[in-house]
Symmetry: C2
Subunit: 340 residues, 2 copies
């Protein structure tokens, strides 16, 4: 029997022949098995409980592949689950497509798949279909993962940026900047006394609880690439309303703040992978806070600001800790490549 | 105004900020626009006409990106449409995820997206959701594309490898090996008097016509990676029945045959991108042939063989042109990397 530690991906593993089948049977399926997937076929057959669906996709190219709090597999499962969740849907099925560089260690592939399988099981989402491609050495950086996802809309929810009105409160479920600062610090080889940890997590359980129990939720969004700054600017731009947030009310981990300061980043523009904002009518804000704070992923939930009428061009305005004001701009985009 | 020829993808185009938005608005959306996509959001909202769905995904890493008969974009749209089609579904929505290397020419990206948009429009399938990631130079080979797709099952179809019985006929809609031999010849810089051309095409229109008009269709599959050899071996392995095919009845383009001979390939193991086999009860075989031959993608349709009981281990047996017999094995997988 071959020493598992030494097994590597070969180009032929992506050839669609005998070796592809062995890779699937011995290394991939055992980690993500479920009833639908086991039928194989190029397409999965699904019976969905509703005709109202959400559909989303994301590719993951994060570097490094393994980081404190997760890995590319956990990210790929959570990210797509979260995109469905904040759209007001309950995720039901994921696809999984791998692009792997010749020579990649199969035991690392298995660890990544184990993470995907665990998140899928914890959130009652099946990986129902997939694809494995290989490319020669130097043609890809180790492994890239794509997941697409189907969710069914939660009845009686009707979220949309167009529903947002002046006076609505903006709530976040916890600290910002953790994922991005963990990745960049690990990449730069910087260590802190209290270690940074990615917030990577699947939000479905909490978003479903909120949507099923609170009226008055207008919009949800997970501030990933571009961070809170990008999400809030998108709201301002699309709604024509301004957003006013208070620095004092935005939860930030102390080490994340210190790391961001040291490396010259604005935590508001840093990617999160287990956070979402909820825009809610003022009379429902406390209900969102209460439900969130009872949930493991919402203990530090805060109202961080509100939507206001804009006399001129809509902007995102931050009231700083010392009472000053600054405009939070849409990030340009070059801050943090390969963060997810 | 910048010279369009010189515009290149930057890492910041994948940052989720201002530059990502500009790339989407100026270069991506115009090529693939439709009503659902224009709503943006991280998830698309879809109302599907049936609860019985098919769901599939494929990543495309073909090299070269542009080839006679198509490009990576056409391949990415057709491939996923075809996986749904041969599963007995009518494709309704695709996702599109791009991984692009820093420095990739935006005018090439636009050509690729134009191809995707054209196939989508021709087949009444919307690109409803997407993702764009960038990686630094050397971390990917130009561009990789993932498409996932949702289809609705065609009523009263019930395809499955388990439905196949001894006596069933195997029909292919045209010549085999065109796509793979086109790619490998172009890669090796070999030219022929009569040029090779990929068969890359969307099969939906023909598969739907067949499924809506012919009873007795048991199974369909598009022989892509691993070619006819892989597909027929999968049938033998899964059904426990043998497959007998006749070399004389398998349509092969003369130049493809010559190229395969010269380069030492077996056309049966070469990838196709616009072909599918239909396994059908013997009394319905003529109907499949008739409908196929009236369709632009089925003019050269042929019954290439049949399913037979196997006295021992199920195999795929080829009756050669001179009346000899040889076993067609499952390809190992290393024949043709990055063929799709």
């Amino acid at each position: 029997m071959a020493n598992k530690e030494n097994e590597k991906i070969l180009l032929a593993h992506g050839g669609g022949g005998q070796l592809t089948e062995e890779l699937l049977r011995n290394h991939i399926f055992p980690k993500i098995q479920n009833k639908t997937l086991s039928k194989l076929g190029d397409s999965a057959e699904l019976t969905v409980p509703s005709n109202e669906l959400c559909f989303t996709t994301d590719s993951y190219v994060v570097k490094p592949l393994f980081f404190n709090g997760g890995d590319i597999g956990k990210l790929a499962a959570c990210g797509t689950i979260n995109d469905l969740s904040v759209a007001g849907a309950k995720p039901v099925a994921l696809s999984l497509a791998l692009i792997i560089e010749d020579g990649f260690e199969i035991n690392l592939l298995e660890k990544i798949l184990e993470s995907i399988g665990q998140i899928a099981r914890e959130n009652n989402v099946d990986i129902v279909t997939g694809d494995t491609k290989t490319v020669e050495r130097g043609a890809a950086d180790k492994i890239f993962i794509n997941t697409a996802g189907i969710g069914v809309k939660i009845p009686n929810t009707n979220l949309g940026i167009d529903k947002i009105e002046a006076g609505d409160k903006i709530i976040i479920n916890g600290t910002v900047g953790d994922h991005g600062m963990t990745i960049i610090s690990q990449r730069e080889g910087i260590k802190f006394d209290s270690p940074l940890k990615s917030d990577c997590a699947a939000l479905t359980d909490l978003t479903c609880k909120l949507l099923e129990n609170v009226n008055g939720i207008k919009f949800m969004r997970d501030p990933t690439r571009g961070g809170l700054a990008a999400t809030l600017n998108e709201i301002a731009k699309s709604s024509g309303l301004s957003v006013k947030i208070k620095e004092n009310d935005i939860p930030v981990d102390k080490t994340v703040q210190a790391a961001a300061g040291m490396l010259g980043f604005d935590v508001l523009a840093i990617a999160n992978e287990g956070k979402f904002i909820t825009v809610v009518s003022p009379d429902s804000a406390d209900e969102v806070l209460n439900i969130s704070r009872k949930h493991p992923l919402g203990k530090e939930a805060m109202i961080i600001g509100e939507v206001v009428t804009s006399s001129n061009v809509p902007v995102v305005e931050l009231v700083t800790r010392i009472g000053g004001k600054r405009i939070v701009q849409m990030p340009y985009g070059r801050e943090l490549p390969r963060i997810c």
